[in-house]
């Protein structure tokens, strides 16, 4: 494919046409913060953290989706961009428990976000779902980046065990008819746990350790579980 030359933060850069602004900026060593974006997932541009200013465009554009084009002039950290990222971070912090999302915490700090700016929001308080021996789902920590649903589907596993439930503010990742995972198509491949950015999905062992159990206690449980199954 033909190359195009564009300007990012005043620096010219030449990339193959179709390269996203995110990757073009990376080529210059400019890091654009992302949340929902993952190297191996289809980009959806839904967290809006990576928005940048593209000259001539009324709205801010998601860098993870917008392809580089000849002559494009992009600003990755204008005043408008910085303010938007800060507010998006603040809104996320107001609605979700980000305590175990270090990357996100760093972004919030970088943009001077005040996590308490939107005190009116009610946090999504959901009980932890512990319905299988492999991993737990703590959707109070879920920022709805969609990665788990995507790797469960066409981005990796083609299992389609995970899906969406509800809409708007009440959207949640779930299984069909809220069935426990062992009753779904889930094969416990662990792809979803691997891509989760906030520890909403967590290996069961890690979770049990956090609950104060010792490795021996955990092993004892699995041993008795296996014995029950054999007997």
């Amino acid at each position: 494919m033909a190359d195009v030359t564009l300007t990012i933060d005043g620096q010219p850069v030449t990339v193959p046409a179709g390269t996203t602004l995110l990757k073009a900026a990376a080529q210059l060593g400019t890091a654009i913060p992302t949340i929902c974006y993952h190297e191996h997932c289809t980009a959806n541009g839904l967290c809006r953290m990576c928005v940048v200013e593209v000259e001539g465009q009324r709205l801010l554009q998601p860098a993870c989706l917008v392809p580089a084009a000849e002559g494009l002039r992009v600003q990755t950290r204008s005043e408008r961009v910085a303010r938007s990222r800060r507010t998006i971070g603040e809104m996320l912090a107001a609605s979700v428990d980000l305590s175990q999302a270090p990357e996100l915490q760093a972004q919030l700090a970088d943009y001077g976000a005040d996590p308490e700016r939107f005190p009116e929001a009610e946090r999504r308080a959901r009980p932890v779902i512990d319905d299988n021996p492999m991993y737990v789902r703590d959707y109070a920590k879920c920022i709805l980046c969609w990665r788990c649903v995507q790797v469960c589907a066409e981005d990796a596993q083609y299992t389609f065990a995970l899906s969406f439930d509800g809409r708007g503010y009440n959207t949640q990742i779930g299984t069909f008819f809220e069935k426990p995972l062992p009753e779904t198509a889930c094969v416990f491949c662990g792809q979803c746990v691997g891509v989760c950015p906030t520890n909403a999905l967590k290996p069961k062992r890690e979770w049990l350790l956090e609950q104060g159990q010792t490795p021996d206690e955990i092993m004892a449980q699995t041993r008795s579980g296996r014995r029950r199954k054999r007997g």
Binding site: N44, G45, L46, C47, R48, M49, V51, R58, L59, L60, P62, L65, R80, R83, S84, T87, I88, M91, L92, A94, S95, R117, F118, E120, A121, I143, L144, W146, F164, G166, R167, G168, Y169, N170, T171
Partner: protein, 570 residues
Amino acid sequence: MNPADLTAITHREQEARGRHRCRVLCCSSTACLASGGGAAKDGLTRAVKLHGLEKNVQIVNTGCMGLCSLGPMMRLEAQGEPDTLYQRMTADSAHQVVDEQLVPYFQPGHTPTEAESEVGAHDFPHLRASLSQVRLGRGLDEHLLPQDMPFFTRQKKIVLARAGLIDPERIEDYIAHGGYTALAKALTQLTPEQVCAEIQASGLRGRGGAGYPTGLKWNHVRKADGPRKFVIANGDEGDPGAYMDRTLMEADPHSILEGMIIAGYAVGAQHGYLYVRGEYPVAVKRLEKAIRSAYRQGLLGDDIFGTAFSFEVDIRIGAGAFVCGEETALMASVEGQRGTPRMRPPYPAQNGLWNAPTLINNVETYGNITAILNEGAAWFAGIGTEKSKGTKIFALTGKLNHTGLIEVPMGITLREIVFEIGGGIPGGRQFKAAQTGGPSGGCIPAEHLDTPVDYESLKALGSIMGSGGLVVMDDASSMPDVAKFFMEFCVDESCGKCVPCRVGTVQMHRLLEKVTAGQGQAADLQKLENLCRLVQRTSLCGLGQSAPNPVLSTLRYFRHEYDALVANGR
């Protein structure tokens, strides 16, 4: 089917019409059915039977006649008489119409009027008095509706020309009113390029609200490469108070279908989808019937009008998500996915349904196509303003004396719509604002009543043309409350995909609740305004990008109301 068959069907229809001296048209749109139109029609049918007039009086179900607030409506067409319009009909009043008007009309001794003599009234020696001479019993005069009301005379009907006059469930009735001649003309006399050029020359713009030039869009899809292409009609109307599309689909489904088939020919598509929201069962039923009868007549399917052009149409029913009116979410829904929008570009014209080039227009846009092809682009371009051509349908609701469905030429002023067609504000109250464009639009205050209604002027005022909802508010309405109402709507209808819309609408709604409850502070207003700008510029789709509009527009014109709430509480 060949073009001559259309003429044959028209002749048969006219003959059948001539056998009945009298027709009573009963509005059977959702609005009139909800106010008791079914019972009124049953009463009419019983009374006609009772007097043995079935052979003379034909009772027809039609679509919307317009004045929905005065429904159920009926229209009496008696040969040699001016049409009579009735309002607020019941079974009893329908009985009265038969007893006091139809029975005397068919009595021996009726002196034929001049017009009747012309049509051969000697065939009907039993006619007695002219309808206007019949003395009406107590009560029936209250049901008469003058047809010279500004509500009717100030309108210009192109898309709704047949609404209320034909039976939407009979393709023959549509054909007898000039239906499918535009399709015949397009297929047999015009190339796809010529059809697109004609639409482009007409200046028609998208009636879903954004106003993109229709001809341009058609050309984009026509020129796009792809082994298959699709045509979609968007009938997923959902703005609060808006029911233009529903009414059009109920009143004249074939005009939409014909527009779609022509579009399919023009852009080179083989398949069309009519996307209708699930809350519109009557519209779905009539569209299904329209599609079936079009197939039966050979107007859908293979080799239409003997040409090499084949076209299929299917209905897809929405499942109650407002966001599915957004074109990319709509296409996801048609594909069977969760109805969430995606980033544009790529636009549907390049990459649409199942990644194929897709033409997607509002149903009202398709409703304009037949008239443009029949009457010519120049005729259409002669109506309206410099940049907004033709007419627009509005659902006129709120604090008005006459609410209902209207079609007006572009460029008419808001004042004419509100005070002439709508009959002004009831209860001696003052006009305060008109809200257009629903949750994506804004309000227009009294000082801008003389603004012409067109895409650019409304945008300049901070509102939008929108799909055609027009809600009028009087001086008793609190504008922060109005903004809160629309924000609540957006909270409910946000799909939850992108963060600004999912969380931002909730935050804005909370702040509005606080302010309208009198617990807000100046800093809250500042925060609200900042949030509005953020959601506007960072949301993924049109729903989020426009969700703050009602707040921003009420802040622009009615800031003092917000300030008063903040200063004084409530």
